[in-house]
Symmetry: C2
């Protein structure tokens, strides 16, 4: 500090001080509200909590010192000043977005090796990947993953994994990084025909009298029943089909009751091929949960291709399943 006593007096020969911009996230929130006409709508759009948008709006208004927004109990509108301001802001944001997207596409060369569980690949990813390639051209290969994580021979760029439980904090050791994609309830599903011709099901315990479709081991059903306090599920029987999507397929054909998460079952449920056995039944209320995780090598976590795929994936899942928790 003693060497700072220089005598020079600098009479401010400064550049144009291009400074003092309002926080950018606040501007994005303002833009979304302006477009959609409501704080909550904007929040949904940006995948943020409504309170965040509310605060951002106040930040912008405080910053510029002008009233930009009229809040009403039925939504939010812009004032005259706000409308003018929004026009310019929106144009600038669009320009940045366009320029960035342009550059991102131009630089696309790499290929992405995706490994995921067969059910997810079959029922969700395969049909969705097309839309990713549209906006992010490149080459992508999908490789079904084994049930047991095998991080030692991690030959893929990214992996999508479903694990039972809600708070699954046991992260893969070092070197890898993972982030949550979505929580999904684990449902017992069967075809309407099967249910029509079988004994009625009122509570979880009744399932023990039914044909349960298993994957590799009996543990999944055992744990699931355990979460509903069904204790005497020690020795289960039934066909073992080794993989989740096979049990789902068998259930569609009326061969029994399968366990499936909502993400891979929703299509069959919506089409009526499958029914949630526990739907509208009090005893099934606190449903067992599972979680999809996104996994990649830590040192490539922020690389362009992986981050874009991750963003796309989480957005697409959120868009398809807005009623599932993603945090």
């Amino acid at each position: 500090m003693g060497d700072e006593k220089t005598e020079l007096y600098v009479p401010s020969p400064r550049l144009p001080p291009r400074k003092g911009l309002p926080p950018f996230e606040a501007l994005r929130a303002f833009d979304a509200v302006a477009q959609l006409g409501g704080v909550r709508k904007a929040a949904d759009y940006l995948y943020r909590d409504q309170t965040v948008i509310s605060r951002h709006l106040r930040t912008v208004e405080d910053w510029v010192g002008a009233k930009l927004i009229v809040r009403t109990p039925s939504g939010s509108m812009l004032t005259e000043q706000g409308s003018q301001y929004h026009k310019q802001i929106a144009a600038a944001i669009d320009a940045i977005a366009a320029a960035t997207a342009d550059l991102v596409k131009r630089g696309d060369t790499g290929s992405l090796h995706i490994r995921c569980m067969p059910g997810f690949a079959l029922h969700w990813l395969s049909r969705r990947l097309g839309s990713f390639e549209e906006s992010h051209p490149g080459f992508y290969t999908v490789h079904p993953a084994e049930r047991r994580p095998d991080f030692l021979s991690f030959d893929a760029d990214v992996e999508i994994r479903f694990v039972a439980g809600y708070n699954h904090e046991s992260e893969p050791p070092e070197e890898f990084r993972s982030s949550l994609i979505v929580h999904s309830p684990v449902l017992a599903v069967a075809s309407p025909e099967y249910l029509a011709r079988s004994a009625p099901i009122h509570e979880p315990h009744d399932l023990l009298q039914h044909q349960l479709l298993h994957e590799e081991s009996f543990d999944r059903w055992r744990n699931w029943l355990g979460s509903y306090q069904v204790k005497d599920a020690a020795d289960l029987t039934g066909p073992r089909l080794w993989q989740g999507h096979l049990t789902l397929h068998a259930a569609c054909q009326g061969r029994g009751i399968a366990l499936a998460n909502y993400v891979i079952a929703s299509e069959d449920l919506a089409a009526g091929r499958l029914v949630d056995v526990g739907a509208d039944k009090a005893g099934f209320q606190p449903q067992a949960m599972g979680t999809y995780y996104f996994i990649a090598k830590a040192n490539r976590w922020d690389s362009s291709l992986i981050r874009r795929f991750r963003d796309w994936l989480t957005d697409a899942v959120r868009a398809d399943f807005p009623n599932l928790k993603t945090s």
Copy 2:
């Protein structure tokens, strides 16, 4: 969570997903580097550490997945892609800045009551306020502050205060908020004429033989000498001029040695009217420090006018005294 088992399957009826923009601060850093041709230059311009800019650049490049910048030991240049990208980004940033500045000026109505110490008002603020009014039209009044903080009768909007010491953590109680403007060394200054005709000064202790110019009390000199381990300064004598700028004026006239911080003395030092008594003398090396603080009522801290004045003030001080610490 139990009520979330609705069966609806939503096939993504989403808006244009205007998402995935790179962090805005990183774009601003990229813009600055592109304009100025160097990381450190950009850092100076944005009042940031050089490392921040470096990281921001890496962030942008990782984000878009393209090489935008060529780092050389003599500066940084843009690649072809980088140059193209910068054109669009810069235009957008300028648009946002212009729109914001426009709106801010339009909404300018209030007046700002500034209270600060006489020395700072006389030697720095009065000449600078003009440039603030240029870019931020409005009405401003300056009122000299007493030495002792009087927060009970705080009739001004903002106050600028100089306190001795480096880490002065004793904040005004509640209701008020303060932020650091700049650290400044506290120098012993005298006119060349005075020094020429007086006993030579080799180390701080020699000052005891000189005519010391005091403000309200002898404490400032006593503490200052104490910071140089001069113990026998119990009973000091000399004229008491009550206010700092008066002692400075007296020192210019050769009436003795005054204590002054660099901010208010720099002009006289540069002009040769005053000399730093301790300049280039080893015993004066670890200089006593003082700090300028910006103070305002907490609930108005982020109001447009106050925040703009605060930003302008800190920027202007930093521009005038780039060699003083501001954090």
